[in-house]
């Protein structure tokens, strides 16, 4: 699995600073690139993504062609109060990945608990080599 070029980000890769700011979309909301882990197991791949503030209803996870994309909409909004100290801002999450052909697209499962998404990407059973009979005219 590799990451697809993130078409939403305006800033170009290679010109990134250590703490890139979020992308301001035209709709007025902020969009973040969530941190992820990917590791291999005997069954396939497991992907974790941190999506604080996203409920299962607010998460849209889809596979189209070879692209797995996740979009999480935060259900916790900014409080109407004076800010004393601010380290993070609230926004939605977007990230997409290109799946290899090894992944069994039909059997991808996902769970979202306490703001952490876990996606299981099982390895597809290898196609048996098929012998092609060769005949002569």
């Amino acid at each position: 699995m590799s990451e697809s070029p993130n078409i939403i980000r305006r800033d170009t890769p290679g010109a990134e600073s250590a703490s890139p700011g979020p992308v301001d979309t035209t709709s007025g909301g902020l969009l973040f690139n969530p941190p992820i882990d990917i590791y291999e197991t005997a069954q396939g791949l497991v992907l974790y993504a941190d999506l604080p503030g996203v409920s299962p209803e607010g998460l849209n996870l889809q596979v189209q062609d070879n692209r797995l994309s996740l979009y999480g909409e935060v259900s916790i909004q900014n409080e109407d109060a004076q800010v004393v100290h601010e380290e993070y801002r609230i926004g939605n999450f977007l990230r997409s990945f290109i799946l290899s052909d090894d992944v069994d697209h039909e059997n991808i499962t996902a769970r979202l608990n306490n703001g952490v998404l876990r996606v299981e990407l099982p390895r597809a059973a290898r196609a048996e080599p098929r012998r092609i009979e060769v005949s002569s005219d």
């Binding site: 699995m1 990451e3 890769p13 290679g14 990134e16 600073s17 250590a18 703490s19 890139p20 973040f32 690139n33 969530p34 941190p35 992820i36 882990d37 990917i38 590791y39 291999e40 197991t41 791949l45 497991v46 974790y48 993504a49 941190d50 999506l51 604080p52 503030g53 996203v54 409920s55 259900s75 916790i76 409080e79 109060a81 004076q82 800010v83 004393v84 100290h85 601010e86 380290e87 993070y88 608990n113 306490n114 703001g115 952490v116």
Partner: protein, 147 residues
């Protein structure tokens, strides 16, 4: 576009150059997440009679979360454990924070420590910190002392 360039690029070095480019770009990529900053990220809001502290701590078990307040300093600490099934060498990408963490926050006012409340939903911790009633200035009468 290559990040790394030899002054004069001749054929035997082209592969190496490409490889170094790939590594540099890979490093850049790992900095795109929000994991390189202090963990966890904290906001503090003034709601009049109380403060509201919020922190993004996704995926922490309640029993691994500890919250204390003493002498105007609020301390939150916890542990983020990696999945038991994941071996160190099986990771293809690792951007999420892992391990023990602690944050100490100096509170702007005295807090009624008895009235503190905390809740954890969708990976976000919200702590209500009521202002202590004792913050009203008390006048101290001055009497004439012995000469």
């Amino acid at each position: 576009m290559p990040v790394f360039r030899w002054g004069q690029s001749w054929d035997p070095l082209r592969d190496l150059e490409r490889e170094v480019d790939r590594l540099l770009q890979g490093m850049n990529f790992s900095l795109q997440g929000r994991s390189t900053r202090q963990y966890p990220q904290i906001n503090l809001l003034d709601k009049g009679d109380h403060y509201l502290l919020t922190a993004e701590i996704p995926g922490v078990a309640m029993e691994d979360l500890e919250l204390t307040a003493a002498n105007g300093v609020l301390t939150i600490k916890g542990v983020r454990k990696p999945p038991a099934e994941a071996r160190d060498d099986s990771f293809r990408r690792q951007e999420r924070f892992q391990g023990a963490w602690q944050r100490n926050l100096q509170l702007p006012d005295r807090i009624d420590e008895e009235g503190m409340k905390a809740e954890y939903t969708l990976g976000v911790l919200r702590v209500t910190l009521p202002r202590s009633a004792g913050t009203v200035a008390r006048s101290i009468p001055v009497t004439e002392g012995p000469e």
